[in-house]
Structures are given as structure tokens and as C-alpha cells.
């Protein structure tokens, strides 16, 4: 073991966590908005607008069809505009947020769609308006499924972060490429891989625990 290993890993991990945290936050907010809009604008939805739905859906599909590494390159000008540089973790957050949002939007849409039409109808029959139905019925009813979807999304962002590392974002991915691959540092390569695996496990475990706790509270027999 070379003596710079721990320091390298520590810095890489912090950068990765920094990127994952912020881009998850932004991507979840954006994805939530996209998911809700997709569900309510659908034909027969709460505020149906089939054309708008089609436009948003097409944009989401287009962004999702690009390989992430190309999307980052395409978003470099935007990153420069927002944070003033195209290098480093902060610049990567711009691309990560926008790159992951459409994916999150889709899986959030799917989770929200699981809420039965009957429940939404019951709320309509009570005279509830659209925002009450979205925030007080659809989202709470879908919460365990939403948390599971978000877990998948955040793990996707960890993956994207590693890819972004290959083109100058920093973090564990960058470490694995620059040291592990280009400088034949197998110890770095192996350690980064292990760290990423642990990180993903922790995220998955947290998501499962939170979702499971909510489900158990709702279904427990007394």
C-alpha cells in the first residue's frame, strides 16, 4: 500500500458524496416536477393536456436516449454559464442534475400511476382541487413506491458520477480512471470499486428501510 492511498480515497469519496448529494437533490426536485406533470397531463388525468404530455414525454425520451458521457459534453456550455467552469465537481452537478432528472421523472411517473383511479375520484367527489389531490392524496399514497424509485434514481446518479469522473469531474470515478487505469495503480482501482459498492449498498439499504417502515406502519395489525 502506497502512503498516498488513503488521502486520495478520502478526497475522492468527499467529492463523490458532494456531487451525489447536490445532484440528487436537484434531480429529485426536477424529476418530481416532471413525474407529477406527466401524470396529471396524461389523457384522462387530473389536468389533462395530451399535447403538453406528448411534448414533455418526447423531450424526456430524447435526453434519455443520449449516452451520459455525451450529454455531459453537450451540457458543458450550460455548466460554464451557471458555475463559471467546466471542470470539477461543482460543474458536474449541473450536468448530473439535468442528466438524471428525466430518468427520475419517468420512474416517479410510474410510481404515481400506481395510485388507484378510485382514490383520486373519491377526492374529486369531495370537492378537492388539483393541488390538494396531488400533494395530499397522490404523493402520500405513493410514498413507499416513490422512495423506492428515488433510491434507484440516486444509485443511477452514483453511476453517472463515476462516468463524469472520466472527463474531469473528480470523485472516485476520476480516481479509478486517472490512477487506477492510466497509472496502473491497482490498489487505487480496487479501493475505489469497493468504496462505490459500499456507497450503493448504503443507499439501497436506507431506501429499503425507510420505504419498509412506512409500509409496515400502514399494514400492521394491532
Amino acid at each position: 500500500m502506497k502512503d498516498d492511498l488513503l488521502e486520495l480515497l478520502w478526497r475522492g469519496l468527499l467529492e463523490t458524496l458532494y456531487m451525489v448529494l447536490w445532484s440528487s437533490l436537484f434531480a429529485l426536485l426536477l424529476g418530481m416536477a416532471l413525474g407529477v406533470v406527466l401524470v396529471v397531463t396524461e389523457k384522462g388525468g387530473l389536468l389533462q393536456a395530451p399535447r403538453l404530455h406528448k411534448v414533455i414525454s418526447t423531450v424526456i425520451n430524447s435526453v434519455r436516449s443520449l449516452p451520459f458521457i455525451i450529454l455531459i459534453v453537450l451540457l458543458l456550455p450550460l455548466a460554464r454559464f451557471v458555475v463559471g467552469t467546466t471542470l470539477g465537481p461543482t460543474a458536474a452537478i449541473v450536468a448530473l442534475s439535468i442528466g438524471a432528472a428525466p430518468f427520475l421523472g419517468r420512474i416517479i411517473e410510474n410510481s404515481l400511476k400506481e395510485v388507484s383511479v378510485g382514490k383520486i375520484e373519491a377526492a374529486r367527489a369531495m370537492g378537492a382541487n388539483a393541488s390538494t389531490i396531488i400533494f395530499r392524496v397522490m404523493i402520500p399514497e405513493a410514498l413507499p413506491a416513490l422512495i423506492r424509485s428515488m433510491t434507484i434514481g440516486i444509485i443511477g446518479i452514483v453511476e453517472f458520477t463515476a462516468i463524469a469522473g472520466a472527463i474531469g469531474a473528480g470523485g472516485l470515478g476520476s480516481l479509478a480512471i486517472r490512477f487506477g487505469y492510466q497509472r496502473f495503480r491497482e490498489d487505487v482501482l480496487l479501493s475505489t470499486v469497493i468504496l462505490i459498492i459500499v456507497l450503493v449498498q448504503v443507499i439501497q439499504w436506507t431506501g429499503d428501510t425507510v420505504a419498509g417502515r412506512i409500509e409496515r406502519k400502514r399494514t400492521r395489525f394491532e
Binding site: 382514490k119 369531495m126 395489525f221
Partner: protein, 261 residues
């Protein structure tokens, strides 16, 4: 009073328009328990769902307690719906909310102050005999209990009308009986108009005073329930009554009464 005038509704399908309701005219008096009966696909569900515009009618008027429902703007419709309770075949309770929160929901929608909500929810839970279940979640309840929560939720904001969309069709006979008794009691105590749709003759016979028979989207017969059983005029009514008579004859034969033993 509820007045339905010249109500029509059709659905667009790939094969063309299908008429679900064809020029419906009905009057339902305040305090009545009015049953609408028909076979599957006759249009009874569409009809009751038009009353609070969960389905938009193509033409015609609906008036409930002097308010023209069909002329309401979206905001007015939300207001009007707060005074039209509805219960459903599959209960449609919110699984994320406790019994208390489910019943409190319509009051929150209507903007009642928190103190009133507490008092009112407890009051209505007592009426449906679920005061000990207020902290339970819907998953923890039996079908009959769920429908009681549904009824409490529909009545908590003191509606003028209760719409029942096959509310007992998913329940066993004994539970159906207790739910019907509850509805009867509520009708008597609150003088609440109840409109229910059903395909079960027992339900009609048990609680309804007046009824209408719907067939292919048309009202083919209407009047007091007794007339339906004594003197059925429409094809649907005759078929329903024939089913009852068939079983009655079967019973006579099986029990040996008809054979004079």
C-alpha cells in the same frame, strides 16, 4: 330535490360513439331513498357519476337542492361537491391515512377549523360505530368496517345528498345487511336523500322507497319499489322478478311444500 332533465352521454370508441345515457329524466324527492337498478352495462354507473360530474354529461341538466350542477364553473363544482357525499364499491379509502384522517379529509378540503374537525369526526365515527378504530389504517379493517369509514367520510361535511355507487356489491350478505341498516338509520335521522345504484334486488327491496329501472341507457320504468315486484312492466324488471320467482319455486319444490307432503 334532485332533478335530471334530458340527460345524455355517449362515449367515443374506435368503432364509433356508444350511447351510455339516452335522454334521462328523473325527479328524486328530498329525504327519499332512491334505487337505480339495471344489468351490467345498462348505464347506471354512468348516471350516478354524472350527478356530481365525475363524468361530464354531453347534454341535459342536473339540479341538486336548487343548484344547477351542469352549469357550475370548476370552482363552483368543487363547492357543490362538498355537499354531495359519495360512497364506492371498492371503498376508495386513503391507505396512507388513519381512519380519523380519512374522515377528516373532506372537512380539511372544505376549510373547517381544526377544533371543529376533531369534534365532528369523533361525532360521525360514533354514528358508524368505529370510535375505537380512529387510529387504525384501512389495511387493518374488514370490508364492512371500510365501508363504514367510507360512509363516515361521505357524511362528515353534512351533505344534502348521498350517492352510493354499488356500495354493498363487494360485501358479504351479512355485512351488506348491516350497511343497509346503517344507511336506513342515517336517512331517518338526518332526512338525507340517498341515491343508490345496484344490481342486487335485495338491496332495492330492503331500503329503497322509489326506484328506476335503466336499460340500454334509458329509464324504462320508475315508481315505488312495491310496484316493481308486483307489476313489473319493463323487460329488465320482468327478468329480475323472474329470477326471484325461479328461486322461490325451487325452494318450494325442495322443501316439499308444493308436493303437498
Amino acid at each position: 330535490m334532485i332533478a335530471i332533465r334530458n340527460l345524455s352521454k355517449s362515449y367515443k370508441t374506435p368503432k364509433g360513439a356508444v350511447t351510455a345515457l339516452d335522454n334521462i329524466n328523473l325527479e328524486i324527492q328530498k329525504g327519499d331513498i332512491f334505487g337505480i337498478i339495471g344489468f351490467s352495462g345498462a348505464g347506471k354507473s354512468t348516471l350516478i357519476r354524472c350527478l356530481n360530474r365525475l363524468e361530464e354529461p354531453d347534454q341535459g341538466d342536473i339540479e341538486i337542492e336548487g343548484r344547477l350542477i351542469t352549469q357550475c364553473t370548476p370552482a363552483e363544482l368543487q363547492q357543490a361537491r362538498q355537499k354531495i357525499g359519495m360512497i364506492f364499491q371498492h371503498f376508495n379509502l386513503f391507505d396512507s391515512k388513519t381512519v380519523f384522517q380519512n374522515v377528516a379529509f373532506p372537512l380539511k378540503v372544505a376549510g373547517h377549523p381544526e377544533a371543529n374537525i376533531q369534534r365532528r369526526v369523533r361525532e360521525i365515527l360514533e354514528l358508524v360505530q368505529l370510535q375505537d378504530k380512529e387510529k387504525a389504517y384501512p389495511f387493518q379493517l374488514s370490508g364492512g368496517q371500510k365501508q363504514r369509514v367510507g360512509i363516515a367520510r361521505a357524511l362528515v361535511n353534512e351533505p344534502d345528498v348521498l350517492l352510493s355507487d354499488e356500495a354493498t356489491s363487494a360485501l358479504d350478505p351479512q355485512t351488506t345487511y348491516s350497511i343497509l341498516e346503517l344507511l336506513k338509520e342515517i336517512n331517518r335521522e338526518l332526512n338525507l336523500t340517498i341515491v343508490l345504484i345496484t344490481h342486487e334486488l335485495d338491496v332495492l327491496q330492503h331500503i329503497c322507497r322509489n326506484m328506476a329501472v335503466i336499460e340500454h341507457g334509458r329509464i324504462v320504468e320508475t315508481g315505488p319499489v312495491d310496484k316493481f315486484f308486483l307489476n313489473p312492466e319493463s323487460d329488465t324488471a320482468r327478468r329480475f322478478v323472474k329470477i326471484i320467482e325461479y328461486y322461490r319455486e325451487q325452494r318450494i319444490v325442495m322443501e316439499g311444500v308444493g308436493a303437498g307432503i
